[in-house]
């Protein structure tokens, strides 16, 4: 089987400081990988390099494109990379307002992604928007409301609908449940799990919440100071951590 994403020796430096370095992994279709580590460990830098938001200084990020197979997204042209960002990739930001247009209606937010891939029929766009709002549990009577009128949890669900409407194959998520109430977080986790399972999505989820990765991710990568210190099956890394830092991380979780 061809990996969907193949990352080789990726590195990003901020001057003399290390953003992230020596990162290599393969992600296969349908796999969900979590990246954990404390603030400043380089996990968001890595995610942004993978998603084409930051240019890495070294290394390759090969994506299995629909037409040409594995292509290095670091060296491909900007328009090609942007096209991937609109079609096969999705990026869910921690703060929904970074991923939404706050002064456009909920339906418009979802429809815009469809128009970017050349959907033109108003009725079709509106019915897909209603369908997707339903899937993320936003009732159709809210379709003409702006995200500013939504709660934080609803904004996050709207952002997910906007991202998934074009049927991407790879979703990048940066702390998707960060800053939400635990009750809202549980609902969002359940939603994400079902979407991943039903659509066969692959996803890379950056978070510092070990409980979130345990429930969402098949595989886990632990980062510290820009380096990957441990990788493996999620439950194995959490239940039998090998690296001292991972042991510290796991043993520091407060019990409820």
């Amino acid at each position: 089987m061809t990996p969907l994403l193949q990352v080789e020796n990726l590195a990003k430096f901020y001057g003399a400081r290390i953003g992230c370095t020596d990162v290599s992994f393969d992600l296969y279709p349908g796999e969900v990988m979590g990246i954990v580590g404390e603030s400043g460990s380089g996990k968001s830098t890595l995610l942004n390099c993978l998603a084409g938001h930051l240019p890495p200084d070294r290394g390759a990020v090969r994506f299995d494109t629909r037409t040409d197979g594995l292509r290095d997204t670091v060296t491909m042209s900007e328009p090609e990379r942007r096209m991937l960002g609109r079609t096969d990739w999705a990026f869910v930001h921690q703060h929904a307002r970074d991923g939404l247009r706050m002064n456009v209606s909920a339906g418009g937010n979802v429809g815009e992604r469809l128009m970017a891939v050349n959907a033109r029929h108003y009725g079709d766009i509106r019915s897909s928007a209603i369908d997707w709002l339903g899937r993320v549990e936003i009732t159709p009577d809210r379709i003409d409301d702006r995200p500013t009128a939504f709660s934080g949890g609803m904004q996050q669900r709207l952002q997910i609908a906007r991202n998934l409407v074009t049927g991407p194959r790879l979703v990048f998520m940066d702390e998707p449940t960060g800053g939400l109430d635990v009750s809202v977080q549980a609902r969002l986790l359940d939603l994400l799990r079902n979407l991943v399972r039903d659509m066969g999505l692959s996803a890379i989820i950056v978070t510092h919440d070990l409980a979130v990765v345990r429930l969402l991710a098949d595989r886990l990568m632990v980062m510290k100071d820009g380096h990957v210190v441990e990788t493996g099956l999620t439950d194995q890394v959490l239940d039998d951590p090998q690296h001292g830092y991972t042991q510290l991380l796991v043993s520091s979780v407060l019990q409820v």
């Binding site: 796999e31 799990r193 399972r197 098949d218 194995q236 239940d239 039998d240 510290l248």
Partner: protein, 227 residues
């Protein structure tokens, strides 16, 4: 079906002075199709550790653990995931679920993951829950609020939803009343009859004697304990 060959494991505690604790050495065991083997030994002798190693939840330092044609000790994460999806089931002592997901969906999940349709999966899950005497009025609720015995039965229903060819059972009859205990033993017997290879830990000795074909004393694999 399950073959453990000369397996060993240490725990290294990096944050406690790098203490190395050898927990398993020279462990070997074979389980054929349709056979049920009990792991026995005192608390702390490594029964659950061995079971977790077979499931790929704990890493193995040396040796081979074959489940079907996959060596769990060497397999890449995605191979272990595929193995767990269709070949190797595990009923742990604790139920771990996404909060707020209805019990019926928790039990149906292994079926949904292997391609059964929503309706069908829910119908099979309902059948299992009914058999395990979970009242229907609870099916729409999350099992996180259930009693210990109810959670245990939901866990068993989930573990038996898909007909895995290999099964690991960690205390499946603990905290069950006699009626439900009999139901669970019946389910284990049916799994044996359809050819599943089963490894179990039972502190319930009567259940163990009734259901298991053999016993393996894990104490022989415990470094420092084996005499």
């Amino acid at each position: 079906m399950i073959s453990v060959e000369n397996v060993s494991k240490n725990f290294v505690l990096h944050n406690q002075g790098g203490t190395t604790i050898p927990v398993m050495a020279g462990a070997s065991l074979h389980v054929a199709k349709g056979e049920c083997v009990a792991l026995v030994g005192a608390s702390g002798s490594g029964k659950s550790t061995l079971m977790r190693m077979i499931y790929g939840n704990y890493l193995t330092a040396a040796g081979r653990i074959m489940v079907g044609d996959v060596d769990v000790a060497q397999a890449a994460p995605r191979e272990v995931i595929a193995l767990r999806r269709r070949t190797l089931g595990y009923v742990s002592q604790f139920l771990r679920v996404v909060p707020r997901v209805p019990t019926l969906d928790v039990v149906a999940e292994p079926l949904l993951l292997t391609g059964t349709g929503q309706e069908d999966a829910r119908a099979q899950a309902a059948e299992l829950l009914a058999r395990l005497n979970i009242p229907e009025r609870l099916w729409g609720l999350s099992p996180t609020t259930f009693s210990g015995g109810e959670q245990q039965r939901v866990n068993i229903a989930r573990g038996f939803a898909f007909p895995y060819p290999a099964l690991l059972l960690d205390e499946p009859t603990a905290s069950l009343d006699p009626t439900n205990r009999a139901v669970v033993l019946g389910m284990i017997n049916e799994a044996k009859a359809r050819g599943a290879a089963i490894i179990g830990i039972f502190h319930d000795h009567a259940a163990r004697d009734e259901i298991c074909d053999r016993q393996v004393d894990v104490t022989h694999f415990t470094p420092g304990l084996a005499a």
